[in-house]
């Protein structure tokens, strides 16, 4: 189904008109309003996360399933002390018929976004790969995150980054003891699983650009940055996404560090705006990070109901 979704001229005009009036087709009344995020952790499993974006009327707009699996492999020759990490993110036919089932085109957005998330985690050392080494040069853990898009109405990049980080934070691999090169893998009954070394939590945010003028005009009005040339929209729906004319993606963590800042072409935007929006992203990302940590914390409490009897710690979250 390599066919594109047909967006009629009427629809295009309607959506763009609405955006110009700060209205969204799904009922949101601000361009910077994001849809509600729900993080569901499957009980009884480690690193199995469902994420939902909910519309205002309660229906689910986008749904993602992230699953971490581990296996023991031989490390790469160049890096014998490091485990390996992959993200497998595919859009299959479930996300919509406009996504092809078998091959992911190299020039497609999916490919690009998948790479963004992978390099977001790998290049910033968000996942400690050296902790995954069992026997140097021979056995290391391969951690793989599978991202399944179960329903799609925009917001993939944000959700996938949140999902991957939540799943990695939540996952526990089986404990391993090495004695005389003999590797024993302990089941969860024998020994409690080991958490992965997540060093910081980068989360991506996508700012979508909609031109208010012709592209030529925007390029010509060069230096006058005071002019409003474009609309910046957060959390686009699928249809808005298809109509947008540029984007920039920022991945941040709570420590005020940019992990990634990408603007792959599209209409140009003034530098001061990029700076402005980057700073604006920080509180949003802080909020999301807290949401992730809270979801994991609640899940952990559920898992060991009696742990608090043994611990002297106070409850961190008092409702």
């Amino acid at each position: 189904m390599a066919k594109d979704l047909v967006i009629t001229n009427t629809e295009r005009q309607f959506i763009l008109d609405l955006l110009a009036n700060s209205q969204r087709l799904d009922g949101r009344k601000s361009l910077l309003q994001q849809r509600d995020l729900n993080i569901n952790i499957t009980p009884n499993r480690y690193g199995d996360i469902y994420l939902e974006l909910k519309r205002d009327d309660g229906s689910i707009a986008t749904r993602l399933h992230c699953k971490v699996t581990a296996e023991i492999v031989k490390p790469k020759d160049q890096r014998p002390f490091e485990g390996t990490f992959y993200i497998n993110c595919e859009f299959n036919g479930l996300a919509g018929l406009n996504f092809e089932n078998y091959k992911v085109g190299n020039n497609s957005d999916e490919f690009y976004y998948g790479r963004l998330i992978e390099s977001m985690i790998l290049r910033s050392n968000a996942l400690d790969l050296e902790q995954l080494c069992i026997v140097a040069g021979l056995k290391v853990w391969n951690i793989r995150v599978d991202v399944h898009v179960l329903e799609f109405d925009g917001g993939f990049l944000e959700l996938a980054s949140i999902g991957c980080m939540t799943a990695l934070l939540h996952y526990r691999r089986p404990d391993v003891t090495v004695r005389n090169e003999k590797v024993t893998i302990h089941s969860f009954d024998e020994k409690e699983g080991v958490k992965l070394g997540v060093l910081h939590i980068p989360i991506a945010l996508q700012f979508n650009l909609f031109p208010l003028k012709e592209a030529a005009e925007i390029i010509k009005t060069n230096t006058s940055s005071e002019n409003n040339n474009e609309l910046v929209v957060l959390d686009c729906t699928l249809k808005e996404d298809l109509l947008k004319d540029g984007e920039f993606i920022i991945a941040l963590n709570k420590n005020r560090e940019i992990v990634q800042l990408n603007k792959p072409g599209g209409i140009p935007i003034s530098a001061s705006k990029i700076v402005e929006f980057s700073h604006m992203a920080l509180p949003i990302i802080e909020e999301t990070t807290n949401k992730i940590l809270k979801a994991i914390d609640i899940d952990e409490k559920k898992r060991n109901k009696y742990a608090h009897l043994l611990s002297a710690e106070n409850d961190r979250y008092v409702e």
């Binding site: 023991i72 492999v73 140097a136 040069g137 021979l138």
Partner: protein, 399 residues
Amino acid sequence: MSEVIDTANNINEDTNGIALMQFPKEVLSRLQPDLVLQRHLQLGLRPSNLMKFNEFRNVEEQSNDALIVNHSTASQAQDNTNSNTSGDLIVANNLLKVGNMFIKTDLSLGITAVETANIEEESFAPIWPEVTVDRGRMGAPTDEEMIASRQLYENIISGKYIKQKNLIISKIGKKHLESEEISYDMADDEENDELLLENKNKWCFVIYAKINVYSREGPIYDHVFNSLMLALQKLTFPSVYIEESSIDLQISSKKSFNKKQKQETKRTFNMKFDFDACNKLNLNSDISISSNFGVIYKDPTMAINVLDEQESNEEKEEDAMDIEKDNTDFKKEPILINDISTDIEEQAILSKVSIACNSKNYKSIKLMNGSNNEKISVQQLKQALKFSKMRYEDLKPTI
């Protein structure tokens, strides 16, 4: 439409200006496989070699031991988990001729390191098959090949043919440098002991099967399975020894920038197969024979003799609907076809069942009804089960 194709004997235009065409048998069978099959069924025959409905094709086993084993070549295993040795060394083979179809199975061995302590008594080993249907070109495996390979893999495990325990290499020999002889006792000297003890019960055989199908005729799975079974029966394991000279200490010295450098030594064993001392594989269960069946309904309206009668007393251009109305008393009868054996049958028969059994038990049944109008009933399944047992007894002498 179907009548038009076959009844016209030469190309002539009818009143509508549509040219009637005559096709040679081969072409017609590709265009209208169901029609050709139905015509044959009316005569009580099948398209391939005019077999009876319940007839199986002739199966000949042509084994050629000369193909097996070149003693001088040897195999290598590296001291790590996912080593697998080169699969070129054929330890058992089988060449099965089914009708016009040839199936060649080559079994080869690999060695892998395992935690032998973890192997349970009731654990069964797989075979790693790779089925290739010869089609005159290279490329990614087709769905049919993938399905056959996977099905073999599953059925070998579920059939419980090979116990994992039987694949453990319990004895490893050592070839002495000077004497060129191989000793399998490990009491001699201390140095020996260490090496051999270290390797004792650490290795396991892995069986690979490379299966080639030539001049494919109909579904392949059952015959591929049979060929693999026959080859498996002949499988012998060579003894394994280590050549003293070839124990290498490799020092990996990959430089990684500003990383703590650990020196890692890797020991490479050159494991070699000694075919002078072979052990036969103990199969856990008798091998089984797989056979397939299909069900098709005889459709009287497609019969050629019906048309002949029609022609004699009616006009040729008679509307097809009228013909059918006159023959409402015709009944469709189900026919069980044994051993689906040509492309025509394969395409026209949509409901198939494939049964593997030995004298004691059934090993697998795969029944798939691919058509709503021609389903295999329980009655026919019973019949097919009976036939499959008979088939096993038939082929037993060849085993």
